[in-house]
Amino acid sequence: MAKKVLIVEDYPATSKMMAEILEMEGIQSVITPDGTDGLEKATKEKPDLILLDIMLPGMSGLDVCSNLKSNPVTKNIPVIMVSVKAADADVKNGLAKGADGYLSKPFDPFKLIEVVKKNLGM
């Protein structure tokens, strides 16, 4: 069964690219540009992994992350924060909210694959 990744990213070109990269590895993707919608999709779609941007319209990625981690349904889904906020504090914040990994933009596509695969246990 193919793995499914939820991409919460408001910049279409980036989210599309991420989906295509994962496609190359045979990983399915669900994309949403909105934090609130992301939370909803996380419960509905039951993804195996979530790639979460921090700067999102509506709800911040960090809030989305803490919501996911406090929800028993979603709390076991690995969350990888993907952000241009390549700052120590952001990484710490993200990890404190329960994120499982961190990727700073712009990222190397192969790094993305590596991180995702690692968290999916592939």
Partner: protein
Amino acid sequence: MQNEEERIKLYILIKWFVLAGLFLFVSFEILTGLIIGRTMIPAFILLALATAMNTSIYLISLNKRHFPLLVRISVFVDFIFLAFAFYVNGGVENTWWFLPVFWVFISGYLFSIWSALFYALLASLGLTLDFTLEYFRIIPHITIHKFPLNSLDNPGYLVDYALGMFLLYFIGAIISGYFTYLLKKTAGELAHSLKESESARRESETARSALLNIMEDLDRAKADLEVKVRERTAELEEAKSGLEIKVKDRTADLEESRKALMHMMGTLKEDMAKLQVVDKLKTEFLSMVSHELRTPLTPIKGYLAIILSGKIGELTEQQRKTLDVVYKQSDHLHSLIDNILDVARMELGKPIPLVKEPILVNTVIEETMEAMAIQAEEKKINLHAELQPDLPNIMADKTKLKRILTNLIGNAMKFTAANGEIVIKSFLKGSSIQVDVIDNGIGLAPDTIEKIFEKFYQVDSSMTRQVGGIGMGLPICRELVQLHGGKLWAESEGLGKGAKLSFTLPVV
């Protein structure tokens, strides 16, 4: 007491009066027939002659030195005349032989006791001579009385008479002299005391005038002082009013200056507030721009990487080379954006986060050089390294260290002409690892060695267009090195002599 001249004048006058009185009395005797008148005439003539001689001598002697002596001699001569007049006028028969006592008195009074005694002696001698000569009939006796006293033949009478007269003259002389002496003494004492009182008076007068002088001096000094005080007071008053005016003027000036300054300060404060707002906006803008630029950069770099990986189709050699350039340029764009973000952080006073991990400096250098090799090749620059092997691991942020190296090497390439050379050296120095980036490019003027670390500093405006850059690289590098606890500096022997940029990273 009168002076001698006046005394002699008086003496002569008295003689004339006595003579006149005698003449009147004798004339009365002759008229009444008491005495024979004819013999009287030559006697009077003689006496008048003697007195006249006295007078003339006196008049001649006036104002002459030997005046008293001449007069005394004249008095002596005078007596001879008198004695002769007595002889002519009866001799022993004459009853006026007492008359010389007046002369004795007068001379005693006028001159001195010695003069009186001398006169008395002369009178006595004259009388004795006359009596003696007449008695012994040596000279003839001249009878003057109608009834002559037969005294000539009576020696006892003559001696008595002579002795009486003798005593009369001398006692007269002594009395006269003594009185004169007493008078003189009293007068002397009086004069002396007068003199003394006069000198005392004079002294007191002197003292008084001295006191007056002193008082006058004091008065004058006081007046002078008063004038001076008035003058000085006036001067001070003037100076004071001058000062007051000056102070007023200066106060007004200062007030004006103060107002101007306050106004300026107000303006400056406003400007500063505006500037602060603008500065904050700028920083926020930089931060935002950096984020916004990075967002599209993510798919650009990502897709380029995918294409270059060949996973979505094989590329021709030409395509690969072209896309490689695009990728490198997007990489450069990425580092520029990162620089801007770091500047924004520095400006905001936010810490630039470091993700430290154990790294090998030489590995990072090699990776960076590899990334820049194509660029060096294009510019025909000989980029090579002299790395000390077996350098210890250090804790550092790999991304930041790469950025530092990229900046330094990129800078060196900017300012090094084609066929130039860039050497990267690494070595252990004390407890730090030092990295040198040495080029043989345009070098640095001594006054620009520190300026290159200032934000937005450009070596030369004409150079800027040629080499590009916004003047942020080196300031950020220095900041990043310092964040690692190291130092970054530049060395150059001058323009055209190349440059060496070095930094240290503590081992710990």
